[in-house]
C-alpha cells in the first residue's frame, strides 16, 4: 500500500503549484482554475488522511468542499461574465479602474 505521506507530499506540491499560479498568471479564468487546483489538492490530503485515521470526517469534508467549490465556480463565472460585457478582457492587469 502506498504510505499516506506520499499523498500528502503530492498534495502539497499540487497546492504550491496552484498558489504559485494564482500569483504569476494574469488571466482571471486561469487564476480561478489555479484556485480550484488548490482546493482539490486539499481534497486529496483529506481523503488520504481519512484513510489513515480510519474515520469519515475527512471524506465528509471533501464532499462539502466540492459543493462549495461548485458554488464558487458559478459565482466566479458570473462575475467574470459581467466584466467581459463591460470591458472585453479578463486580464487582471487591464482591470485597473480601482488601484489594484
Amino acid at each position: 500500500m502506498v504510505p499516506t505521506h506520499y499523498y500528502l507530499i503530492l498534495a502539497a506540491i499540487i497546492f504550491s503549484m496552484g498558489a504559485l499560479g494564482v500569483l504569476v498568471r494574469r488571466n482571471a479564468l486561469i487564476i480561478f482554475m489555479c484556485v480550484e487546483m488548490m482546493l482539490n489538492a486539499v481534497n486529496l490530503t483529506l481523503v488520504a488522511l481519512a484513510n489513515q485515521w480510519g474515520n469519515l470526517s475527512g471524506q465528509v469534508f471533501v464532499f462539502i468542499v466540492m459543493a462549495v467549490a461548485a458554488a464558487e465556480v458559478a459565482i466566479g463565472l458570473a462575475i467574470v461574465m459581467a466584466i467581459v460585457r463591460h470591458k472585453d478582457t479578463i486580464n487582471v492587469e487591464e482591470i485597473n479602474l480601482l488601484k489594484w
Binding site: 465528509v60 464532499f63 466540492m66 459543493a67 461548485a70 458554488a71 465556480v73 458559478a74 463565472l77 458570473a78 461574465m81 460585457r85 463591460h86 470591458k87 472585453d88
Partner: protein, 119 residues
C-alpha cells in the same frame, strides 16, 4: 409677387452662407486640437456607452452550464445518504426532505425568472 421680390432673400443667403461656413471652418483650422477618448465617445443621452451595442453575446449556454453545475453537484450528498438510509430511517428522510426543499426553492426561483428558456 414677382420673382424680383425674392432678391433680398437671395442676397441674404449669399452673405449668410459663406459667413456661417467661415465661422465653422475657421475655429477648426485655428483652434487648438487635443482629441481624447472621452471627447470622441458617442453620446448616448448622457450615459457612458460601455460596450459596442452590436456585439453578439451568447449567454444562454453559460446560464445552462452554471445551473447544471450547481444542481448536479448536490447529488454528491444523495449518495452517502442513500447508502446509510437503512440506519437513518425516518430521520434521514426528513432531513433530506429539508435539503431538497431548499434546493426546490432555488429551482423554482430560476425557473420563474426564465433562466431555462433558450430564446
Amino acid at each position: 409677387m414677382t420673382s424680383a421680390d425674392y432678391l433680398p432673400i437671395l442676397i441674404l443667403i449669399l452673405i449668410a452662407a459663406p459667413f456661417a461656413g467661415i465661422a465653422i471652418l475657421l475655429p477648426s483650422v485655428l483652434g487648438p486640437k487635443n482629441p481624447n477618448r472621452m471627447k470622441q465617445e458617442a453620446i448616448e443621452s448622457g450615459m457612458i456607452p460601455f460596450a459596442d451595442a452590436r456585439r453578439r453575446f451568447p449567454v444562454q449556454y453559460y446560464m445552462v452550464a452554471v445551473l447544471f453545475i450547481i444542481f448536479d453537484i448536490e447529488v454528491i450528498f444523495l449518495f452517502p445518504w442513500a447508502v446509510s438510509l437503512n440506519q437513518l430511517k425516518i430521520f434521514g428522510l426528513i432531513e433530506m426532505g429539508v435539503f431538497l426543499g431548499i434546493l426546490l426553492i432555488g429551482y423554482l426561483y430560476v425557473w420563474k425568472k426564465g433562466a431555462f428558456e433558450w430564446e
